[in-house]
Point group: C2
Chain length 103, copies 2
C-alpha cells in the first residue's frame, strides 16, 4: 500500500509560538488528547469531534503545519500521530503539562 507523508516542518523548523497557537484551541486540544492515547496514530475521521469534516481538516492542517502532529496517507486513509519525540526534545514537559490539565 502506498504510504506518503504530508508536508510538515523539520524538527529544527518548529517554532514555539506556532506550537502554542496551534494548541490554544479547544477542538485542537481534543485532537491532541485523542492522539496522545494512540501512539500508532489514528485515522483522521475516527477522532470524535463536534465539527464538520472541513473544519476538522482545517484543525488537523494547523497542527501539522505547526509541527505538533504528522500525517501520512495509507491508500485513501490519512493517519495522524503526535510528534511526541520532537516536541519532548524541543520543549521538555510542555506536552505533558498540557495533557495533565483538567478538561
Amino acid at each position: 500500500m502506498s504510504r506518503k507523508a504530508l508536508p510538515q516542518p523539520a524538527r529544527e523548523e518548529i517554532r514555539v509560538e506556532a506550537v502554542l497557537q496551534a494548541l490554544g484551541e479547544p477542538v485542537r486540544l481534543q485532537i491532541i488528547r485523542a492522539l496522545a492515547g494512540a501512539p500508532d496514530g489514528i485515522a483522521c475521521g475516527e477522532i470524535e469531534l463536534p465539527v464538520t469534516p472541513s473544519t476538522r481538516a482545517h484543525h488537523l492542517r494547523i497542527l501539522r503545519e505547526a509541527g505538533v502532529l504528522t500525517t501520512h496517507t495509507e491508500g485513501t486513509r490519512r493517519i495522524s500521530s503526535l510528534r511526541r519525540e520532537d516536541l519532548d526534545t524541543l520543549y521538555p514537559g510542555l506536552l505533558t503539562g498540557i495533557l495533565t490539565a483538567r478538561q
Copy 2:
C-alpha cells in the same frame, strides 16, 4: 504605599486554552521570559520590548486575564510577576518546556 492587585482569574478559573493562546505570541513570550528571571516581579515599563506603550499594556492584560501573570500597583507603578506556582500546579512542566525553547 498603597498596594492593589489588578483583576485576575482565581487558580481554578484558569483555562489551558486561554493560557496557550496568551503565550503563543512573540512579544508575550518575551514578557514571560523576562518575568521568569525576576521572581519579585518587574515594573511593566522596565521590560525591554519593541512595541508602543499601549501595545505593551494590551499584551500584559492578555497575559493577566489568562492567569499567566499577576500585576499589582505600588503607588503609581505596576509590578508584574509570573503566576509560576499556579501554572506549575495546574500544568506541571508547561512553563519550563516553553522557557527551555530556543528563541
